[in-house]
């Protein structure tokens, strides 16, 4: 299965190549973005390629971006590890006439045409809202499992914490902890925490791996239902845990539409259907698009199952 998809229709644009570039490209999270990107492309009959840096490494991603620019593609949708570092390269691309939009993680001063993302802070806030509703008036203590040093996760955490401070005062964040990208470690982490403060009522995870870890820890301490978990993203693991009540809810980002809209913008930019501008009409590209977040609970969980690896769910 080559990630360079073939056009749906015979079109005179079939030789155009649009790139999606990410960091930690191996992880599940981006797949939804790309499938949006890919499907949109089919309508225009252009080629799309997914690439990026497998590691969380600025240098690696920039180098790849530069190398892509060197290929002079028809458009680039990129998720930037870091806002400032990408300015030079993105400017370079735009000056040489390659349309660039950023998604999920922005580079605001780079002159990119548009930024499409869930507002991570908002997502965090949502998480707080859900938890506080789940726990009711008397609320309780909360643990956050996140991935420190990864910007978008830091953002989600901040969003959550602020929301708790200002709105959902029935909650109290007692600990922010490290999921370490590994469910074993996440489980270790949480079970430790649950031991030390036995009045923890809720857990908020900013990534699905931590979510699964948390779920396991809670299960092994037979505290299902007693401790509410709100996780992030919608891989089958998380969804299954929602089905079996271990995870109460998860936050689904508009990843699909991030990709889908990025593709639309890029194509239209490339063919001058839209341009930068002030007055809001459909000939002007909006500098920011909030792709929104949905809350997935047991009620609507079934809508979110994907068919991965071509294997239909049992």
């Amino acid at each position: 299965k080559n990630k360079a998809s073939s056009p749906l229709i015979e079109s005179k644009y079939s030789n155009e190549e649009y790139y999606m570039i990410t960091f930690l490209s191996g992880i599940e999270y981006w797949k939804n973005c790309y499938s949006g990107f890919e499907n949109a492309s089919k309508a225009f009959g252009v080629k799309t390629i997914y690439t990026g840096s497998p590691e969380y490494d600025v240098n690696q991603e920039i180098t790849i971006l530069d190398q892509i620019i060197a290929k002079n593609p028809s458009g680039i949708a990129i998720s930037c590890i870091n806002p400032d570092a990408f300015e030079t390269s993105i400017k370079k691309a735009i000056n040489s006439g390659i349309p660039v939009v950023t998604f999920d993680a922005d580079s605001p001063n780079s002159g990119r045409y548009s930024f499409l993302a869930t507002n991570n802070r908002y997502a965090g806030e949502k998480g707080a809202k859900v938890l506080s509703e789940l726990l009711g008036e008397n609320g309780g203590n909360i643990v956050i499992l996140t991935l420190p040093i990864q910007l978008n996760h830091e953002e989600r955490t901040k969003g959550f914490v602020n929301a708790v401070k200002n709105k959902y005062t029935n909650l109290k964040v007692v600990k922010i902890s490290n999921g370490r990208h590994d469910q074993t470690e996440a489980a270790k982490e949480l079970s430790g925490i649950l031991q030390s403060n036995n009045n923890i009522k809720g857990v908020f995870c900013t990534d699905s791996t931590s979510g699964v870890g948390a779920a396991t820890a809670v299960r092994e301490l037979n505290k299902i239902e007693k401790i509410k978990i709100v996780s992030f993203d919608t891989d089958n693991g998380t969804l299954d845990y929602i089905k079996s009540n271990v995870i109460s809810a998860t936050i689904a980002q508009g990843t699909y539409s991030m990709g889908y809209k990025s593709m639309n913008f890029l194509f239209k930019l490339n063919h001058d259907y839209i341009k930068k501008g002030i007055e809001p009409d459909d000939s002007v590209i909006p500098p920011f698009v909030d792709t929104g977040v949905d809350i997935v609970t047991k009620e609507n969980v079934d809508n979110y199952y994907k068919y991965d690896l071509g294997i239909p769910k049992k």
Binding site: K1, S25, G26, I27, E28, W30, K31, P54, P148, K175, I176, S177, N178, R180, H181, D182, Q183, T184, A187, K188, E189, S191, G192, I193, L194, Q195, S196, N197, N198, S208, T209, V212, G213, T216, A217, E220, L221, D235, N236, G237, L239, D240, Y241, K243, S244, D308, L309, I311, K313, K314
Partner: protein, 332 residues
């Protein structure tokens, strides 16, 4: 005259020997107890049944892995591929299940797959004669890569897998999870074998002077292969067990397991130059590291401090141990 001297020697030497051989494990054990006491004082929750059990479950896969890693270290080798092999066999197990293979058969196959990578390690290191560091680093890349290629990054969920499987890690005798008992047993057995069995004796020879081992008619190629195979076997087991535990497998599982287990083994008295080490020591090493992390959590140390503290502990541990040894070996 000479006789009597020799006798004096022997008596002393038995005593001292006991001391010597014990000392490594002792230092670790003592530090474990010491830290435990501190934690017990600092937090009422530390010595709770639940905490102890969950901590133990948490470190179970590290324990399994460290056994294999220690054996490799004793043979004078090094294995940086355990984490990746762990994840690969987890992944294959999950996928086979999703493709409709009976879960138990899936386990066996995936363990075989994992082990076969150990064989590749052993083949390149033992037969061809490549350097362990590089070989296992490469194999780590390859097997981790395979996990990603197979899953394209998505975690695999084994929803609705038979309870009999997912309960492996839950089911208990009285309060104690069976897994833990089994692991405990395995540890003891391996430790005994390491001290007494003919095969592991050869591993020690290999580790302390390969050339001399060769001249003593020891089949070093064969031993190397077996060593790496068994290391991979343990890793694969860990992979399957954590699959059972989480009913979800991610291609990123076991990241950093190599370094963790090597550190643990060394803290427990294994030497990276080979020819030294005990299983019990290594396992104690794992326990120590995990208790410390548990402590960091109980004492609400900010996340950002973890790496720092772990690094410091590691350095401290080896330094102390080294100084002890030096005292013993004075003139070296």
């Amino acid at each position: 005259m000479k006789e009597s001297i020799n006798n004096i020697f022997k008596n002393n030497l038995l005593v001292t020997y006991r001391k010597l051989s014990a000392i490594r494990e002792m230092t670790v054990l003592i530090s474990i107890i010491f830290i435990s006491i501190i934690l017990a004082i600092a937090s009422p929750h530390f010595i709770t049944k639940d905490n102890l059990i969950s901590t133990t479950i948490g470190l179970s896969s590290d324990v399994i892995i460290v056994i294999g890693v220690t054996i490799v270290l004793i043979s004078g080798g090094l294995d940086l591929s355990v984490g990746s092999i762990m994840s690969l066999s987890g992944i294959t197990c999950g996928m086979l299940y999703l493709y409709g293979v009976n879960i138990w058969i899936a386990c066996i196959i995936s363990i075989l797959i994992g082990t076969s990578f150990g064989f590749i390690n052993g083949y390149f290191i033992g037969k061809i004669g490549l350097n362990p560091f590089i070989t296992t680093l490469a194999i780590a890349g390859i097997s981790r890569g395979l996990s990603y290629i197979l899953t394209e990054g998505s975690p695999i969920s084994l929803y609705g897998v038979p309870k009999s499987f997912s309960n492996i890690s839950q089911s208990r005798i009285g309060e104690v999870p069976i897994v833990i008992l089994v692991i405990f047993l395995v540890t003891l057995i391996c430790d005994y074998l390491l001290r007494r069995s003919d095969f592991f004796r050869k591993v020690f020879y290999l580790g302390s002077n390969e050339k001399a081992a060769l001249l003593s008619g020891i089949n070093i190629k064969k031993i190397k292969i077996i060593v790496y195979v068994s290391c991979a076997l343990f890793a694969a087991l860990a992979g399957v067990l954590s699959t059972a535990r989480f009913t979800v497998v991610t291609p990123s599982a076991g990241i950093g397991a190599e370094m963790r287990s090597i550190s643990a083994a060394v803290i427990g008295g294994a030497s990276l130059s080979g020819g030294e080490g005990t299983i019990i020591g290594a396992v104690l090493g794992v326990i120590l590291l995990n208790i410390i992390n548990n402590g960091l959590i109980l004492l609400n140390v900010p996340v950002y401090w973890q790496d720092f503290v772990n690094g410091a502990i590691l350095l401290l541990a080896v330094t102390i141990d080294f100084v002890n040894q030096k005292k013993r070996k004075e003139l070296h």
